[in-house]
């Protein structure tokens, strides 16, 4: 049998299919657009599976459209992280428009979690807009930040205020790299606070699209003095977790 997980996020949709041994057979990503269900149909077209479980903010829409079971992003990321790193006790997920931290019991059950509030502060969207303000591609943003020689303090966490703060720093002649580094540091401060509220030690598994940014992982490890583990293709961890939970239903 083959089990699928679909993670319908605010920015992207991921589909993962695993076999009975838990091996990943399919992983596809697409933009969510403004009609998540149509996009979900497209992404599933031609992909074979026996059962599917949905997660992400669009999970309830999916449940209605396809009569499929659902699971929250929290549990899905916890399960997905465990698939890569079976001893995971702490998970940080930073996605397109939300971020969360999760601590797990030894047996993998969720112990405690934190989520960001209503706005996009400290999420992928924040980094995306800041990269654009500084004229970087999202891929080079983190790399460039790592090359900066010193830090620069950015105090605004609000995307709108931070954008004007960045504009004024550019006008003052500060280097792009240093501003980029300061922006990463501000997101890390927020993430570290959320991690500390759920767990105080041990390795951290970093999932979600933002985990692909090399600066984020490096800064996080430095800031907390804890090892940061990143799964291969971290943006698929939610969908993988849902697929594994679909398999667990057997």
């Amino acid at each position: 049998m083959r089990f699928a997980g679909i993670d319908i996020g605010s920015r992207t949709i991921e589909l993962v299919v695993v076999d009975e041994a838990g091996q990943i057979k399919v992983s596809i990503q697409a933009d969510t657009g403004f009609d998540p269900i149509t996009e979900a149909k497209k992404i599933m077209d031609g992909v074979g599976f026996d059962r599917i479980m949905a997660t992400g903010y669009g999970r309830n829409l999916f449940e209605i459209a396809f009569d499929a079971p659902t699971v929250t992003e929290i549990k899905a990321h916890a399960r997905g992280a465990r698939t890569f790193f079976p001893d995971t006790r702490t998970v940080l997920d930073i996605g397109g428009q939300d971020s969360k931290t999760i601590s797990l019991f030894e047996n993998g059950k969720v112990k405690k979690f934190e989520m960001n509030d209503r706005c996009a502060a400290g999420t992928g969207k924040f980094l995306e807009i800041m990269a654009k303000t500084l004229g970087y591609d999202i891929e080079e943003f983190g790399r460039e930040a790592l090359l900066a020689e010193s830090d620069l303090s950015i105090s605004s966490m609000c995307t709108v205020f931070a954008e004007s703060e960045v504009t004024s720093l550019i006008a003052k002649g500060n280097s792009r790299r240093e501003i980029a580094r300061g922006l990463h540091a501000s997101v890390i401060r927020r993430a570290a606070g959320m991690i500390n509220r759920v767990s105080s030690d041990g390795d951290i598994v970093f999932t979600g699209g933002v985990a692909q940014n090399p600066c984020m992982a490096a800064f996080l490890a430095e800031k907390l003095g804890r090892k940061v583990l990143i799964p291969e293709k971290p943006q698929f961890v939610g969908a993988l977790g849902a697929a594994m939970l679909a398999a667990d239903m057997n």
Binding site: Y57, N60, V71, T72, E73, I74, K75, D98, K109, V110, K111, K112, F113, M115, D117, R118
Partner: protein
């Protein structure tokens, strides 16, 4: 609604168009949240009727009472003693503060970062949509949190009959003395309003009436200990909300009738949700009509609410008033004793509340606690952190929620509550 009511509302000075809009929203919400529930006790039919007539028949009743010479006193807080009001032959009603209304106009008078409850009480006044407020002969404000006590200074500009009650903030002998002198001052004010002197007999009767109402709610609460839960948290919350509006004797009778039915259900092992449904205690800020947002989210996420540690709930209704005194003064002391136990977060320190939360978790066999905080409500948001810490030390899962009356965070809350419920399974 009949034309009768329209002229009644017009006479009260309501803004009919705005009021129609409010009733429309309220009716739709009630349909979607309450009537859509499955396996409801038949006795809830009474509360469905009360809610359908909350601005109609109940107001007409109040106005008829008024015509016969009784006075109506409106309040925003469980510290206003109904015993004193009833003993002076007046009627106490809770005033509307559970929905956003006329927010833009409210924000001309109050800072934006004021809690939703305070903003709502202003919105209903400015928007001219609360018939309870407009029927009231006296409106009682009280010095609880800083937000409320400063807001009453502004409310005083909008209404002519505001009476402000001072309240202690510390559970000390001085605090108790203050409460007693404030209740004496309130008694004198109510007697002056009604022209009725409170006697030992009228006070004793009033205590018994209010105790009976509380005892009925205690009975209902106690039945919620059963698994499967015989009544939803939404329905039980509604009974706790109607507690503030209804004719006390009729309310008592109706709640007891539901309890008879629930006892039968428990005997038959019948419930609103299956056995072993995760059980949640909600603790924190009051949830006034029609603020059903959190319980709706919880009970559509596969859990059941088994208790409310809240002013609209057990914090407000627990403890009866001793009715054994023979003089007005004795009974006034008993009233002070009873209300002085209310463990509102305005008190510092407030260890009784944490104890009560833990007692409730044990009594109602709750699997976890959701701490409900209204944004900008400093006292409860501050207490939320030590409450969470203390519960977690005892391995009782706790989810802290901070929200308002808006609907834009429902998706986010749903995810958090669902994840919390997954955690409890």
């Amino acid at each position: 609604m009949s034309e009768d009511y329209r002229s009644m509302w017009a006479d009260l000075g309501l803004d009919l168009a705005a009021h129609d809009a409010l009733l429309g929203v309220l009716g739709q919400a009630y349909q979607d949240i309450y009537l859509a529930q499955k396996n409801r006790p038949e006795g809830m039919g009474y509360f469905d009727f009360v809610m359908s007539e909350v601005h109609g028949l109940r107001i007409k009743e109040l106005l008829d009472e008024k015509a016969s010479g009784r006075k109506i006193i409106g309040s925003y807080c469980v510290f206003v003693p109904e015993e004193i009001v009833l003993a002076a032959n007046a009627i106490l009603v809770g005033l509307c503060s559970g929905a956003d209304f006329a927010t833009e106009d409210v924000e001309k008078l109050l800072p934006r970062n004021t809690c939703a409850l305070i903003k709502s009480s202003f919105g209903f006044k400015i928007g001219k949509v609360c018939p309870y407020l407009e029927s009231a002969d006296m409106i009682v404000g009280e010095n609880t949190c800083d937000g409320k006590k400063k807001a009453y200074e502004s409310l005083n500009e909008l209404v002519e009959n505001l009476y402000v009650m001072d309240l202690p903030q510390v559970k000390s002998e001085n605090g108790k003395t203050l409460l007693k002198s404030e209740y004496q001052r309130f008694k004198a004010a109510v007697e002056k309003l009604t022209g009725v002197s409170i006697t030992a007999q009228s006070l004793k009767e009033a205590i018994r009436t209010v105790n009976a109402k509380r005892a009925a709610i205690h009975r209902l609460s106690s039945l919620r200990k059963a698994d499967p839960a015989p009544i939803s948290g939404l329905d039980a919350l509604l009974a706790n909300q109607v507690f503030f509006y209804d004719n006390p004797a009729r309310f008592t009778e109706s709640v007891n009738k539901i309890c008879d039915e629930l006892e039968k259900r428990i005997e038959d092992k019948k419930g609103v949700f299956p056995e072993n449904t995760p059980r949640i205690l909600v603790s924190g800020c009051p949830q006034a009509v029609p603020n059903w947002k959190l319980p709706m989210i919880v009970e559509t996420a596969g859990a059941v609410i088994v208790g409310e540690e809240s002013c609209v709930g057990e914090r407000g209704t627990r403890n009866l008033t001793d009715d054994s005194g023979e003089t007005v003064d004795d009974m006034l002391d008993a009233i002070v004793d009873r209300y002085f136990q209310v463990d509102c977060a305005i008190f510092t320190p407030n260890p009784e509340r944490l104890n009560h939360i833990q007692e409730m978790v044990a009594a109602y066999k709750a699997d976890g606690v959701i701490h409900y905080g209204l944004q900008f409500c400093q006292p409860y948001l501050m207490e939320a952190i030590p409450v969470e810490k203390a519960l977690e030390e005892k391995s009782i899962p706790c989810l802290r929620i901070e929200t308002d009356y808006g609907m834009e965070d429902v998706g986010q809350l749903k995810t958090r509550v669902e994840a919390f419920v997954e955690q409890l399974r």
